[in-house]
Amino acid sequence: MPIPPDLDACFAALVMEHQAGVRAFIRMLGVEAGSVDDLAQETFIVALRRLEDFDQSLPAGPWLRGIARNLVLNHRRSLARHALVIHPALAEVLDLAIGTGEDPAGKLHLDELVLHLRDCIERLPARGRALIAERYTACASDIGAVAVAVDGPNAPSANARRQALFRVRETLRRCLVAKVGEVEL
């Protein structure tokens, strides 16, 4: 069903404003990295169908995250789709604990966190950026092979590489905390 041009433009703006936050939220629900975009696209398609019903005086972020959360829940309930999440039990715990990304005091929004994180990532040393990018260029189980390809025979082991990645994320976390204080998600 074609949608009116103005609605189309409205939808495009909605996507560009919220896509990063919606994807981050879906990942935080325990969805594995490779399925995040698929579910986020589904979220926006559902939102498009309901766009005319959406009260535009309300913030769109929580509305979109509510749709995303329901979609992830539906996928988790389908046994065939368990592969979408890191682990069903862990996804359940993550879902129970998470809100829709709004700080209780209303001061901090997930979309703002994403913006601050982008700034932190820009400041990350080149090696840290390369480590993160490498992680996605091969299966996680091949991290050792990637390390050898990048660093030669003296490359650190897969475990050392995993620890290094963890430290990179910790660096980013400290940067975020320095910007916004302790983060309650």
């Binding site: 696209q41 715990v93 993550l94 996680a140 990645l165 302790e182």
Partner: protein, 206 residues
């Protein structure tokens, strides 16, 4: 965030770090997941740390990988929307494609002179295996005339293949420029003379 803050000073053990890292990298086994769920149940800071690491990992991927960029996401969403909203047009394109292929096969199965029995069998244009192996290399369509049994058949087969490829290409790339031909179209376009010959023999019998 006490748990995450504790990680800075190493208060959170290596086990927690390993489990969170494995969760983020999707290498967590059942035992690891159970251990992490247990830890998270006893210390909310572990759960917060896990969520924050997942958030950081996702945003970093969006920022550093072109395939996860905002533009790539928007393009994928647009394509998906079009595929969903254009269902009837898509069905019509598929039907036209099938009809074009049927016309090509109908032309190829027209009566013709007896084939040369010495020619080897091969793969049929639809990819199904024929009686024997195809050892001949693919031959461009323009050269088909040299290998077919009669000038009439050579001319009609080449014309039919060319028409089929044109029809197919026009339909197949209508809404997807640059996508090229689909596997079936490619098979027709790259069919060797032996492939065509085997198909004709199959339809006409010995």
């Amino acid at each position: 965030m006490s748990g995450a803050a504790g990680m800075e000073g190493g208060a959170v053990g290596a086990e927690r770090m390993d489990l969170i890292a494995a969760a983020v990298e999707n290498t967590l086994d059942d035992a690891g997941a159970a251990a992490l769920v247990d830890l998270a149940g006893r210390d909310a800071a572990v759960l917060r740390a896990l969520r924050l690491h997942l958030l950081i990992d996702e945003v970093a991927a969006q920022e550093l990988l072109p395939t996860r960029s905002a533009a790539a996401f928007a393009a994928g969403l647009d394509e998906r929307r079009r595929a969903q909203s254009d269902g009837f047009a898509f069905l019509a394109r598929v039907r036209a494609r099938v009809a074009a292929e049927d016309r090509v096969l109908a032309l190829l199965s027209a009566p013709h002179a007896a084939p040369d029995a010495a020619r080897p069998a091969g793969l049929l244009p639809n990819g199904a295996a024929n009686a024997g192996p195809d050892t001949a290399p693919p031959i461009p369509i323009t050269l088909l005339g040299d290998r077919l049994p009669s000038p009439w058949l050579a001319g009609s087969a080449a014309a039919a293949v060319a028409a089929g490829v044109l029809l197919y290409g026009a339909v197949g790339t209508q809404n997807n420029p640059g996508a090229g031909t689909t596997p079936v179209g490619s098979l027709i376009a790259h069919a060797s003379a032996n492939d065509l010959y085997a198909e004709i023999r199959r339809k006409d019998g010995p």
